[in-house]
C-alpha cells in the first residue's frame, strides 16, 4: 500500500491513540470499582432478604464511594472531550494554563505507573499564545514523557508556564537525571518536526527543559 504519512500527522496519531488507550483503561478501572461496590450493595440486599440486618452507614459509605467514582470518570471523559476538540481549529488563541491542566490530566496515569509525581504550578494571570492546540498538546506530552524519563531519584516533574516577550514559555523542571542523558537524545525527530510546525524552540538547561512559543506563529 504505497502511502506516506508526514511526521507531524503520524506523531499526532500516535499521541491521540496513546491518550485514548490510557483514558479508556482508566474508565475500565472506574467501572470495575463501581461494579464491585454495586455488587456489595446487592449482597447486602440478599442478606436482608434472608433476615440479616442492613447497616445504613455502610450503604451510605458505598453510595458516597460510587458518587466519587462517577466524578472521577467524569473528569476522565472531560479530558477526552477536550483532547478531541483540540483538533477543531488548526490555530487559535490558547490559555496555556488550560493546556497545562489538560496535559497533567492526560499524563497522570503514565506518571503513576512510573512512580513520578507531577507538580504543576498554574499562572495567577492567564498566559495566552496563538498556536495549534493539538500540535502544542502533542509537543507538551512528548516533552513531559522525556522529562519523566529523566526525573532522576527525586521522581518529581514540576510544570509551569510564564510569559516570555510576545510569547510564552512552558517549563519542565526538577529533572535530576537530565544531565545523565546524552545531549542528542532530545529533541528527537518527532519533537523537532512539532517545534518547526509551531515555530517554537526548545532549550535544555540544568535540570529543566524550556519550550519557548511565539505569541503568534505566523510572525
Amino acid at each position: 500500500m504505497p502511502f506516506k504519512l508526514d511526521i507531524v500527522g503520524e506523531t499526532g496519531l500516535q499521541f491521540y491513540g496513546k491518550m485514548s488507550a490510557s483514558m479508556s483503561h482508566e474508565i475500565k478501572n472506574v467501572l470495575s470499582v463501581i461494579q464491585e461496590h454495586a455488587g456489595l450493595l446487592e449482597d447486602f440486599a440478599v442478606m436482608a432478604k434472608q433476615g440479616g440486618a442492613i447497616e445504613p452507614q455502610r450503604v451510605s459509605t458505598l453510595t458516597t464511594k460510587i458518587q466519587g467514582q462517577i466524578e472521577r470518570a467524569n473528569g476522565i471523559v472531560k479530558g477526552m472531550n477536550q483532547l478531541a476538540h483540540s483538533v477543531d481549529e488548526p490555530v487559535k488563541s490558547l490559555d496555556l494554563g488550560q493546556t497545562l491542566t489538560l496535559l497533567v490530566a492526560l499524563s497522570q496515569r503514565f506518571a503513576s505507573v512510573r512512580g513520578v509525581r507531577l507538580e504543576p504550578t498554574l499562572p495567577s494571570n492567564a498566559v495566552t499564545v496563538t498556536s495549534s492546540p493539538f500540535i502544542l498538546q502533542n509537543l507538551a506530552w512528548l516533552c513531559l514523557d522525556f522529562a519523566m524519563q529523566v526525573a532522576g531519584n527525586g521522581k518529581v516533574v514540576r510544570l509551569s508556564v510564564q510569559p516570555a516577550g510576545q510569547g510564552a514559555q512552558l517549563k519542565f523542571s526538577q529533572l535530576e537525571g537530565l544531565g545523565d542523558k546524552p545531549a542528542e537524545t532530545f529533541p528527537g525527530e518527532q519533537e523537532k518536526a512539532l517545534l518547526q510546525a509551531l515555530n517554537a524552540e526548545v532549550e535544555m538547561r540544568i535540570g529543566e527543559i524550556v519550550v519557548t512559543l511565539p505569541g503568534d506563529p505566523t510572525r
Binding site: S32, E36, G39
Partner: protein
C-alpha cells in the same frame, strides 16, 4: 475446601469491595495494594491463587507474575486486565499465568477460575509430594 486467594490491585476501593464479596462467599482473601506487598506476601504465605492486576503503579503486572512464578511455581496466577490483548495474553501464558479476566470482572467467572486454580495447585503439590517420597525411598535402602 476454602480457597486461599491473594488479590493484588492498586485501586484500593476495588480491592476492599471485591475482597469482602469473595470472603462472604467463603474464600480466605488477603489483599495487596502494591507489587512489592504482593511479592512479600507470596514469599511468606501460601495461596491457591493470586488475582493480579496487569497495570499497576511501580511495577508491571507481568514482572510481578514472573517474580512470583520464579519463587513459588505452584501458585496459580489469574491476571486482571482492562484490555485483554493477544500480545499480553501470549506473554502472560509464557510466564505461567493460568488465565486472564477482563475488567470489569464477573465474580461468578472469577470464582470459577479460582476453583480451577486451586485444583491445579493441588495436583502440582501432590506431584511434588509424590516425587519427594520417591526420592526418600530411593535414598534409604529399606
Amino acid at each position: 475446601m476454602t480457597e486461599r486467594v491473594l488479590l493484588v490491585d492498586d485501586e484500593q476501593e476495588f480491592l476492599d469491595s471485591l475482597a469482602e464479596r469473595m470472603q462472604s462467599r467463603g474464600m480466605n482473601v488477603s489483599k495487596a495494594a502494591t507489587p512489592a506487598e504482593a511479592i512479600m506476601k507470596t514469599e511468606k504465605e501460601s495461596f491457591d491463587a493470586v488475582v493480579l492486576d496487569l497495570k499497576m503503579a511501580g511495577m508491571d503486572g507481568l514482572e510481578v507474575l514472573r517474580i512470583i512464578k520464579e519463587k513459588r511455581p505452584e501458585i496459580q496466577v489469574i491476571l486482571l486486565t482492562g484490555h485483554a490483548t493477544v500480545e499480553a495474553g501470549v506473554e502472560a501464558m509464557k510466564l505461567g499465568a493460568l488465565d486472564f479476566v477482563e475488567k470489569p470482572a464477573n465474580l461468578a467467572e472469577l470464582t470459577k477460575k479460582i476453583k480451577e486454580a486451586q485444583a491445579k495447585k493441588m495436583i502440582l503439590v501432590d506431584k511434588a509430594t509424590e516425587a519427594k517420597i520417591k526420592e526418600i525411598i530411593q535414598a534409604k535402602a529399606w
